[in-house]
Point group: C2
């Protein structure tokens, strides 16, 4: 897949970024069908959310979020009244049916230098949304760069089917190992930083994601004592006292190879189950 | 795959967005190893890039980009000299080895309300980067939310392996069909917009991505005449005059395996065509 990487300098693309909203204030104007999707995205961050929407315009799901997360969402039963609404806002999203109101809000944002997304009016947006996948710390976003939301969502299904359900957990465990290593050998950048990074890279190259999912405190301790301190990467067997094959039993079947050969029934079945569980999760989440 | 959906309201995540940089000015401070990755990401957008870096600090790859894309990159052989450098900038990225200089630049950006990313200093960043995949109009970004770049890159390999090499091309063709449909039935939003969206969704549900890759002007014409106008979705066979199984032959099957082995020419060719079609679509859209 030589070219499915960065086709340089042909432009036309976006700068894909993970925006940080910890302690930031986000204004969402609108509460309908598009708006509740925005609320979902925002609830996944640490933003303070303010929603402006006349109550009769609230989608039942938006309403539910407002009720369920009062500490996260401040709701005002009114339309956008003017530039004073933008006071101290860090990001603004409009999701209303009135393009000319949207345009007004965007103009106020431009003057206040606040990044803004106006739903359905791409030419007014500083940034677009795309189809998203989240599994713990793992976030994936798929953008079609304006070729339609439907095709992004098809791609999302395809990528979801290629995931095996433990990637987010593995990511958390790798993050934990990094934190513990930094506690043992503190400092930002420089030769220590480089040495830490190198060892983490060796770890990631030699252990499988599945093996990482089984990492516990005792194993981390052993990895640091017998791995980091001696500048080597112990095997999973050495650290866990279990054969590496036990990982397979725990997680049933090997990852990349089985999904590639396609001859294995695990992948389609796993995907079927994944779809079922996913829909169940969606319903459960919405019911809350 | 219980968790591979949106784990709502647990926070800790980022807002994943596709930042639009058409006609925007981006300042990159630094020219080393991290910087050239930033240049690659920026070249994929339509940003005007300004690089500040003493020549001796330029990585050979950064140097090459500066030489190869003089119309895209303005290069200045000096360090960041002060807040005047930020004049008219829309986005700032630092990629230098000096954390205290980075911090200074970030403070200037905050005052000027310019979003900024300081490489290696996550607590100073308005946004993070992640591992990226690009195939024509398709862009995918993978973020580990601070659990380490190495694990994002592992996930990138996994997702790349699940792609079959024609997704970007299919996306371009779907985009082209949307453009032609909009030309035939213009107008923003409202009932026309909804009807267009509905028909496109039906198309996407009934045709495979592979079938879309073979779409040409004559087929689009036929789809609109015999599909859109009659509120139905013609089959691939009906529109192309070829059996649907020919799609498999054309694409010599299991592109997945071949794209991994690298033995098949289809993938690079498809990607080449995807790039071409994508740019055509971009131009068509802009001309309107």
């Amino acid at each position: 897949m030589q070219t499915a990487s960065n086709n340089l300098a042909n432009g036309g693309g976006s700068l894909m970024v993970a925006w940080q909203l910890k302690d930031k204030k986000v204004l969402l104007v609108g509460g309908g069908e598009v708006a509740y999707g925005r609320v979902e995205s925002l609830l996944g961050t640490d933003a303070h959310i303010t929603i402006l929407c006349p109550e009769k315009g609230l989608h039942p799901t938006t309403k539910q979020y407002i009720e369920n997360y009062p500490e996260r969402i401040a709701y005002f039963d009114r339309r956008f009244t003017g530039p004073a609404e933008l006071h101290k806002m860090d990001l603004v999203l409009t999701a209303i049916d009135n393009p000319s109101s949207s345009k007004d809000i965007v103009e106020h944002c431009r003057k206040a230098k606040i990044p803004v997304n106006a739903a359905d009016i791409p030419e007014l947006c500083d940034f677009y949304f795309g189809a998203q996948i989240r599994d713990g710390p793992l976030q994936i976003m798929i953008s079609s760069n304006g070729n339609g939301p439907r095709v992004s969502s098809l791609m999302k299904q395809k990528i979801l089917a290629s995931l095996e359900g433990y990637e987010g957990l593995a990511m958390s465990k790798i993050g934990l190992l990094r934190v513990r290593l930094k506690e043992r050998v503190p400092g930002v950048g420089g030769s220590v930083g480089r040495k830490r990074m190198k060892w983490m890279t060796r770890m990631c190259n030699q252990w499988s994601l599945k093996e990482f999912t089984l990492l516990d405190d005792a194993m981390i301790q052993k990895l640091l004592d017998e791995g980091w301190e001696r500048d080597r990467v112990p095997t999973f067997e050495e650290v866990s006292g279990r054969p590496s094959t036990s990982v397979e039993t725990v997680h049933s079947e090997s990852t990349l190879k089985s999904s590639l050969s396609g001859s294995n029934l695990f992948v389609p079945i796993a995907n079927f189950v994944a779809g079922a569980v996913f829909m169940a999760a969606v319903f459960l989440v919405r019911r809350r």
